[in-house]
């Protein structure tokens, strides 16, 4: 009944030992990935990037700001001089929360009078928004109780009133936040895989051998392979965004044309990645394995699922090396925050620069492998 069991075990063990690349993928990669992603997977949001517009600047107002900072949830990264500056920084995604303390704050507090603090919250990331909302309310409550404990009369309302205003995604719909990011991640994975498969298949089926003895130029071959996939990528992007808008009802606040422009840069970078993967892989299975190495960071480190602010610095920089990071920022910027070209151009520039470097390295390696 168990005839041949040990023979098969022996043979299978040999297979595994003979193939060090797969062994490496099996043993080392999971540990590395768990370590990196373990730090990234964190929904307990701290250090939310916060901007401050303090029109009071006296001791009482500074005490209030300290309470925000000491809570550990807010990290003051920008100081604004006026409301326009704050609005721009919110739209660009530089800060997620804006605290606006009015000039009369200290006066009112000293007189035990009611005062409003405006808290602007970027609703495009619903997890961050919810956290910011809860914590700022709690801070307001505590400050009010502290004041009330000094007075004898009980006022009809809390003296320090946090007035949160959720911008961009006022209903804090999770779909509005997740689906644009999902579009970015899906597009990256699918286009990269398709491109690398198409090239690796020529190696696998040995058709490249016949092709290299023809006078086809290296560039003709490479660009000729990429252009049809650029077409496929454009159609895919359009259909994914169409579904996002009409099936999932995510409104596009900004310019569709601008979105198309940045998507073009993203496609260019992604095709380059596909080409790069194909120069490392000898067959489609290897291409798939290598793509998985890029797939997980795209999901976990790009800010698609978990806010990048919470990640430890090293992990954060890993995230900055994933093209999807920048495209997701662009998508959320245009779709949710109505960001314009000048709000997002640096993301596009980094994406484009990455694309050029990747394509350069890929074409260099490609030339060597087909020669």
């Amino acid at each position: 009944m168990f005839q041949g069991f040990f023979a098969i075990v022996y043979k299978e063990t040999r297979h595994i030992v003979r193939d060090p690349r797969s062994l490496f993928l099996m043993l080392v990669i999971p540990s590395i990935e768990l370590t990196i992603f373990g730090f990234a997977v964190n929904l307990d949001i701290k250090n939310i990037k916060t901007g401050l517009l303090n029109q009071d600047k006296r001791v009482e107002s500074r005490n209030l700001v300290d309470q925000f900072v000491n809570s550990g949830y807010f990290d003051i990264v920008e100081i604004f001089n006026n409301e326009e500056e704050m609005a721009t920084a919110m739209r660009r995604g530089i800060v997620r929360v804006g605290i606006h303390i009015p000039p009369y704050y200290t006066d009112r507090v000293l007189k035990n009078e009611h005062v409003d603090i405006q808290i602007l919250i970027d609703g495009s990331d619903s997890t961050v928004a919810m956290q910011a909302l809860n914590v700022s309310n709690a801070i307001g409550l505590r400050a009010s109780i502290k004041m009330l404990s000094k007075t004898k009369s009980l006022p009809s309302q809390f003296p320090i009133d946090m007035r949160p205003r959720v911008l961009f995604n006022p209903d804090m719909r999770t779909a509005n936040f997740m689906i644009p990011g999902l579009c970015g991640v899906i597009l990256q994975v699918v286009i990269m895989l398709l491109t690398s498969f198409a090239i690796v298949r020529e190696k696998e089926q040995r058709t490249l051998e016949q092709l290299v003895v023809t006078p086809v130029s290296r560039f003709g071959l490479m660009l000729g392979k990429l252009v049809p996939f650029l077409g496929v990528g454009i159609c895919e992007t359009a259909s994914v965004l169409f579904l996002m808008r009409f099936l999932f009802q995510v409104p596009i606040a900004g310019s569709v044309l601008l979105l198309a422009f940045f998507a073009g840069i993203f496609l260019f970078t992604t095709l380059g990645m596909g080409l790069l993967v194909s120069t490392f892989a000898q067959n489609q299975i290897q291409a798939l394995q290598i793509s998985f190495l890029i797939l997980l960071p795209s999901f976990l480190l790009s800010g698609f699922m978990f806010p990048q602010e919470t990640m430890p610095k090293v992990i954060y920089w890993f995230g900055q090396m994933v093209p999807a990071t920048y495209f997701i920022r662009i998508l959320r910027g245009i779709i949710l925050r109505n960001a314009g070209f000048w709000d997002l151009w640096h993301n596009g520039a980094i994406l484009g620069a990455m694309g050029i470097i990747i394509l350069f390295v890929a074409s260099f390696r490609f030339h060597k492998t087909i020669g």
Binding site: R206, T207, E209, Q210, L211, V213, T214, P215, V216
Partner: protein, 328 residues
């Protein structure tokens, strides 16, 4: 280095002197410390069917890859269709056709689409393309299968399609790397007849093969062994080589019972220089005039001789002998 010396040396080999299309001089390729092709020199002339033979791993494919301009030689030089394989590799590629060992066309494209693709890759102008495609379709007679996916063709038809693709730009020189490996005998014969047709029309062939009957059909042969070209000439010339047919020796075909035992005994006899076993016969090399002694010795050992006849050496004899003597 001058190619002239080589030509002078080999002039006696070629009776009808056509213009050379491949000139190889001391061509060497090393992979690290391993030498895959070791100082090979040869000339292939117009209309030759040059058969290139040798065991697997002896350097056949490496040499072809260098001649096609896709692998740089470590040293030495080669001219193909008058172009240097290193400095004018693009010109070389334009003027030759190449058919590889395994089927390496697109199996998810139809026969016509594959031919059309290669016509475009070779840059045949649009106006001539249609005409040229029709021509190669007629040459390889693949018309009934034009709209079939090439992956679904049988081995023989796949090779015909590959030949059509290699011929589409009308090259005067074709490299065929084991074109008949793995196809059935009838398809093999048909393919060779096709090659003869093309040869008669002026195409030159550089063919690698393991089949001796195919080697017999070639006008010239080269035999590469352990990276070195150890025999080179027409089949007749090779059979007359002194190492194969030493002065004073004759070759007999011996039909005998208990072949393996007989073989062992024969090799012990002093007048037998060499013996090679085939499926049901033994070829022996014996000193001229020792026939009687041979029959006598065999009878004494109790073997039954069915027949004994004088035979010219076959190509297989040639290569077996050469391989052995090279080993010593």
């Amino acid at each position: 280095m001058s190619l002239n010396i080589l030509q002078v040396e080999n002039n006696h080999i070629f009776k009808q002197v056509h213009a050379p299309v491949i000139q190889v001089n001391e061509l060497t390729r090393k992979f690290g410390s391993y030498t895959a092709v070791d100082r090979v020199s040869l000339v292939v002339r117009e209309r030759d069917i040059f058969g290139f033979l040798g065991p697997n791993g002896s350097g056949k494919t490496t040499l072809i890859r260098m001649l096609c301009g896709i692998l740089r030689p470590t040293s030495g030089e080669a001219k193909v269709m008058g172009y240097d394989v290193v400095y004018e590799s693009e010109e070389v590629k334009k003027s030759i056709g190449y058919m590889s060992q395994q089927f390496s066309l697109y199996s998810d494209l139809t026969v016509l689409e594959n031919i059309n693709f290669y016509a475009r890759i070779y840059g045949i102008p649009r106006r001539q393309r249609k005409e040229r495609i029709d021509e190669v379709i007629n040459i390889v007679e693949i018309k009934p299968y034009l709209n079939q996916l090439s992956g679904s063709l049988s081995g023989g038809w796949k090779q015909r399609l590959a030949l059509a693709c290699a011929l589409v730009h009308n090259p005067k020189l074709l490299f065929l790397d084991e074109p008949t490996a793995g196809i059935d005998p009838v398809a093999r014969r048909d393919l060779w007849n096709l090659l003869f047709d093309l040869s008669a029309r002026g195409t030159t062939f550089f063919v690698t093969t393991h089949y001796m009957d195919e080697a017999e059909r070639c006008s010239h042969l080269g035999y590469i062994y352990f990276s070195k070209l150890i025999a080179y000439g027409s089949p007749e010339e090779l059979k007359k080589m002194p190492q194969v047919m030493p002065e004073g020796y004759v070759r007999y075909e011996l039909r005998i019972d208990r072949l393996t035992e007989a073989m062992r005994e024969l090799l012990k006899m002093p007048f037998v220089k060499d013996a090679t076993m085939f499926s049901d016969v033994i070829h022996i090399h014996i000193q001229q005039g020792s026939e009687e002694e041979l029959q006598h010795s065999i009878a004494k050992k109790g073997f039954f001789v069915e027949s004994l006849r004088l035979v010219p050496p076959t190509l297989e004899d040639v290569f077996v002998t050469l391989t052995r003597s090279f080993g010593k």
